[in-house]
């Protein structure tokens, strides 16, 4: 796709250029999906809308030139996190998937608060002039490599003539920290949701040990459970 072609288009139809069009598309999808997430009661529906929303934001990232982040978003967010969430939904939502409706009062309050928060944020968004100047549409180099280099610690993206006191710092340390952090989180999550071993004696054992087992002991309780269950 040729970027300068896009800028040419922009001039023809001021109201529509590639970037604007796609931006509107993705933004629209993202926002609508986000609202749908809030509105829908069924958790699985929420998951689907969330997928759409996150996918759209991935698109936005692509549009903004952050390809690597967009791909990462797609892979980790949509591929990993949401699958995890859906797993969560499946495992936990045995019965009342739909049942949990929040009381009307909360909804109204939340709405008001949301409006207030939105107003504040949007006002802030437009408060700075430099932000509003339309993007130059400058074709930028793909950021994957510099990003990789930055993570490893060499900042290739800074421009020489910047009057910086110190060169921009590389991200090696945070990168390592995040890796260790992820490891710890995984171990933690695995531990938290670990399979809790419960020894269920085989029927044969039960029979043999039935008489020797004290009536009150847990084994007896569990065995009766099982035995009861198995009748």
């Amino acid at each position: 796709m040729n970027h300068e072609a896009l800028s040419v288009l922009a001039s023809l139809f001021p109201f529509l250029d590639w970037h604007g069009f796609f931006f509107l598309l993705f933004a629209g999808v993202a926002c609508v999906a986000a609202v749908m997430v809030v509105l829908s009661d069924n958790v699985v529906r929420m998951a689907l809308h969330l997928v759409l929303s996150l996918g759209a934001t991935a698109g936005l990232f692509f549009l903004a030139g952050a390809e690597f982040v967009g791909a990462m978003q797609l892979m980790i967010y949509v591929g990993g996190t949401l699958v995890l969430l859906v797993f969560g939904v499946m495992l936990t939502a045995q019965t009342q998937l739909v049942a949990l409706r929040t009381p009307a009062g909360d909804r109204v309050i939340a709405g008001i608060l949301a409006a207030a928060l939105l107003a504040v944020l949007v006002q802030a968004a437009f408060s700075i002039d430099s932000w509003q100047k339309a993007g130059q549409g400058v074709a930028t180099a793909p950021t994957a490599t510099p990003l990789g280099m930055a993570l490893v610690g060499v900042r290739v993206d800074q421009v020489a003539d910047e009057n910086l006191v110190r060169p921009k710092s590389g991200y090696l340390l945070p990168f390592e920290i995040v890796s260790v952090h992820l490891l710890v989180v995984l171990v933690g999550a695995a531990y938290l949701a670990r399979a809790k071993r419960r020894r269920v004696p085989r029927p044969v054992d039960l029979v043999a040990s039935a008489d020797s087992v004290k009536p009150g002991s847990p084994v007896a309780a569990s065995s009766t459970l099982v035995a009861g269950g198995s009748e």
């Binding site: 796709m1 970027h3 072609a5 023809l12 689907l48 791909a71 797609l74 699958v83 859906v86 180099a141």
Partner: protein, 406 residues
């Protein structure tokens, strides 16, 4: 193509671009759909051959090649049932999500040099990411069809695909490391020349990585010994038990599509993609070896090469499917966690060390552009700069690296 339309027909820029985009999308779609149909037929034939029987003979011409058409018509004709307890919206969307996910990956898949939907800098990464999405469709299907068995199937499928993404990711990283870039086209280029240039023969570790990649690919596509999702014997048909008719066909298309995708990816990453075993074009002097702007005919040859390799991959999948019994879910998980991931990791380290110590391969110079491989990564950014030569910022940061590192 776009310039051609703009200058010649004078269509408005955006219209032409959309047209081009639509055309290329259509092209890709058909290629895949066609491929899927062929594969369905091929599957029947190969299964028969394996089972010492003929397979479809009467449908269509001599070899029953119209069988898949017949299937298609049957599926179209079939009534699209929906169980009453099902969640209507999700039930309908699920196949399309799954279908899009697997076909979306083809955007970044180069059939020949630069014959690619969108040449993404993060090509491989994008493909793997999109593969991850397919599981969504399966889960939604499993949940939406409101039957215990489909839920079982969906859960197993999700667990399997998600856990196999890990070793898959690791295997994919090796060729990226060798090629120095995630851009599939670059990877393909790197393997131009004699077959010995293919990454698979680059070093013993990558060779093993290829097989691990292939197993993981099998698993992530739900084929053969890992096809627990629709294990007939246990869960009737897994997550698409309740589907019938067109919706079921979409699942089917998605499955064959991703099967083809995975094999094509294997071909590109390891088997040299569109470069044939013999560098015919180079020998004939048609191109300067880098095939940067080789003529279309050459690219067509490239596409054929890729198709053949992918076909071989698919054939092997089918072959495995009709011979090996199905693995149990825990055995599937064990192979993933205890075998694929460790081996992939070990080989990854192996390759890294190999590249560090033996850049030129066992026999120095055996890879004629091996040297290039190291700097390629630097140079590549330079070449990339050539692509967008009109970038305003004079000194691209990448050149800066070159000066710095020398």
């Amino acid at each position: 193509m776009a310039e051609f339309l703009i200058e010649t027909i004078g269509l408005p820029v955006w219209l032409s671009w959309t047209a081009i985009a639509g055309l290329s999308a259509f092209l890709i779609l058909n290629v895949i759909a066609g491929g899927a149909l062929v594969f369905i037929w091929a599957e029947r034939k190969i299964a028969a051959r394996i089972q010492d029987r003929l397979g479809p003979t009467r449908t269509g011409g001599r070899f029953g090649w119209l069988q898949s058409l017949a299937d298609g018509i049957k599926l179209l004709a079939k009534e699209d049932l929906m169980p009453d307890g099902a969640d209507a919206l999700l039930f309908r969307i699920a196949p399309y999500v799954s279908f899009c996910a697997s076909f979306c990956a083809f955007i970044a898949l180069p059939f020949a040099f630069d014959v690619v939907g969108q040449r993404l800098n993060v090509g491989v990464f994008f493909v793997v990411a999109v593969l991850g999405l397919e599981v969504f469709g399966v889960i939604l299907a499993g949940y939406a069809s409101a039957s215990k068995w489909s839920l079982f199937g969906a859960m197993r499928e999700a667990a399997q695909v998600v856990s196999y993404e890990v070793p898959l990711g690791m295997c994919v990283v090796v060729p990226v490391m060798l090629a120095g870039s995630m851009d599939l086209v670059t990877i393909g280029e790197k393997q131009a020349g004699w077959a010995s240039n293919w990454f698979i023969f680059h070093d013993p570790f990558t060779f093993i990585i290829f097989w691990v990649y292939y197993t993981c690919a099998l698993a992530s596509v739900n084929r053969a010994p890992f096809d627990l999702a629709e294990a007939e014997s246990e869960l009737v048909a897994g997550f698409h038990t309740e589907y019938s008719g067109l919706r079921w066909s979409f699942f089917f298309m998605a499955e064959y599509g991703s099967m083809f995708l995975v094999s094509a990816l294997a071909a590109i990453l390891f088997l040299g993609g569109w470069n044939g075993p013999v560098p015919v074009s180079k020998l004939l002097g048609l191109s300067d070896g880098m095939a940067v702007n080789a003529p279309y005919a050459l690219r067509l040859l490239g596409c054929v090469n890729l198709f053949l390799k992918a076909a071989v991959g698919v054939f092997v999948m089918m072959w495995i499917r009709w011979t090996l019994p199905r693995l149990r879910i825990d055995q599937v998980m064990t192979t993933c966690l205890k075998y694929c991931t460790p081996i992939a990791a070990a080989m990854f380290v192996g390759v890294m060390l190999w590249q560090l110590f033996l850049p030129g391969g066992l026999v120095p110079g055996s890879f004629q552009n091996a040297a290039g491989v190291r700097e390629g990564w630097l140079e590549q950014s330079g070449s990339e700069e050539s692509v967008n030569k009109d970038s305003l910022s004079g000194i691209t940061p990448s050149r800066r690296i070159a000066e710095v590192s020398r």
